[in-house]
Subunit: 337 residues, 2 copies
């Protein structure tokens, strides 16, 4: 019979279909159809974006011209605007605020057709370094309470551009989902004097059922309370609240495991759309890091969110994480990009 | 510049694109493509579903045979099972429960091609009556804490069958989203001694900017804190915590406004996929109804939920509700089904 599982951090319940699990071939993959257009992120088209705010490029090359490996620019159509005053007010029973924030795009590389899974580990290290540098710089702005780094791959995951890219949004308040995770993790820490994620890691390493791969500093697993089929989390093995405190020694290991996991997802699930999100302790807050443990959540887009999920916050999960882990624990066969 | 708005009930923030609002023609509508199959809900195929649990049918017709107007059956592939014991346990740091619950499908009418917007008001009254009867009956089972009634229309809203139908799920716990709404509404009530939804109605009726239509007992509006473009809520004007306490006198007015709103959405947005959800006070809980106000939330599926939404719980809303209301406040021209 189906199994209900409760997320030990946020208290969310999911319904796992343990009797008739959906296997990779049961999901219909949508085509990655993008509008035909001149790519603003391809080398030579640098004038199509706002000027770069950070970049890794060859020494001989000039700003806003080809020769870059990773390039961060403000979003041309930002969801929030950086040049504005934070103004909050009430309108009758409602509350509003001016849309202050930053919205940047990180072009992951010059090649229009090479995603993280196709790049070398050192190229992925460059991408992660820019994530970190941008998040650190934006956190200097005291108006911002949270910096979210996330990737939409494929139109059905919300991507509107094909060129490999990641987005970064700095927000003037801690978002609800993050606040709930922090609250849950902090309560657990106060009760047990241990980090809930560290406890989870220990249990997963002992049970082995949901671990898909690990290296010296990182582990990748299908979480016990997955919300989506074939969801994967990557966590540092050593407690660390902040993504940006990942050390120079750890970075290549993180790049390697991220590349490997994305390659396996691409191979096992026939190149699905996906989102990944870096979950980290908020910027400009004190004393929250001991109970929180930064990690990456990767969510392949295999099913549609429907009325039940919107109405309840429950998720119906067609593939138990134990089954997903069996598929994803095999090393990836090289996939054509 | 963009505007951040905070939901006065749950505290969720949304980002409204007030500068460049998306208009109906800016959304790409996906085709409603269903798998070709024999329809289990068409008259004559009653043997393809489990036996009916409730029905409105002609007096001369026999159970589980043609002659019905509205027919409720258990879901053949239930997400939760009714014949089971509620068994909760811990597994290390995790918590699980057996998947006890009810999962029913309500076939809205015998005609495979007639949705609520195409039916007569009295036919819609029959549908709403069955919603109410099933929810009331399931609430008698003390294992159930919440009965959710929801509709997925179109494959991109999660529907897997084409025949017009609604789903009903009884859950052994109050789901997270509902609990948050109740908590917010109850806090407001304790602070102000007034229902937050009643206050919202008064403000909306005074400002008129977001009201799209109203009749004697009900009002339809685009909420100030919409999470989706062209989202519409239908609320009873008189305070009422429970959907199932809608009176016989009110029911035809509810049917009329629901039909009218769905017809307008179909006409203005070119027959989009949508979800609707009935939000009501939980079953088997005391003293929660004074602060809560039942309502229907209708969410056209015009955009994709992406990494930003998953990571934050924020929503980016491409069409301000004030703009959506302008389009939806015109009476519908009759649309071919």
């Amino acid at each position: 019979m189906p199994e209900l599982r409760r997320d030990p951090v946020g208290g969310r319940w999911v319904i796992i279909n343990t009797d008739y699990p959906s296997l990779p071939e049961d999901f219909h993959r949508e085509d990655h159809k993008f509008r035909a257009m001149t790519c603003p992120f391809c080398p030579g088209n640098e004038h199509m974006t706002p000027p770069e705010v950070d970049v890794i490029r060859t020494k001989s090359s000039k700003p806003n011209s080809p020769g870059w490996q990773v390039r961060a620019v403000p979003n041309k159509f930002p969801a929030l605007e950086i040049e504005a005053d934070l103004d909050r007010r009430g309108i009758g029973i409602y509350d509003m605020s001016t849309g202050v924030g930053a919205h940047e795009v990180i072009a992951q590389g010059p090649d229009h057709n090479k995603e993280i899974s196709d790049l070398s580990v050192s190229e992925v290290v460059n991408i992660l370094s820019i994530y970190c540098r941008r998040a650190t710089e934006l956190a200097q702005d005291k108006r911002f309470k949270y910096v979210l780094i996330f990737k939409n791959y494929g139109p059905s995951a919300g991507a509107s551009l094909e060129h490999p890219h990641t987005q970064l949004i700095a927000l003037p308040m801690i978002p609800k989902n993050v606040a709930e995770e922090l609250k849950g993790a902090t309560s657990y820490f106060r009760f047990k004097d241990r980090c809930v994620f560290c406890d989870m890691l220990r249990q997963e390493q002992a049970e082995k059922e949901r671990v898909i791969t690990e290296n010296k500093y990182f582990i990748a697993l299908c979480p016990y309370v997955s919300r989506f089929p074939f969801e994967v989390w990557i966590l540092p093995k050593k407690h660390n609240g902040y993504f940006c405190r990942t050390s120079k020694e750890e970075l290549p290991e993180l790049a390697a495991i991220l590349k490997e996991v994305l390659l396996r997802i691409k191979s096992v699930l026939n190149d699905p759309a996906y989102n990944f999100i870096i979950h980290t302790t908020p910027a400009n807050t004190a004393d929250m890091e001991e109970g929180y443990h930064w990690h990456i959540e990767i969510m392949p887009k295999l099913t549609r969110t429907a009325g039940f999920e919107w109405g309840t916050g429950f998720y119906m999960v067609a593939t138990p994480p134990e089954v997903a882990a069996k598929y994803l624990s095999k090393p990836a066969t090289k996939v054509d990009s």
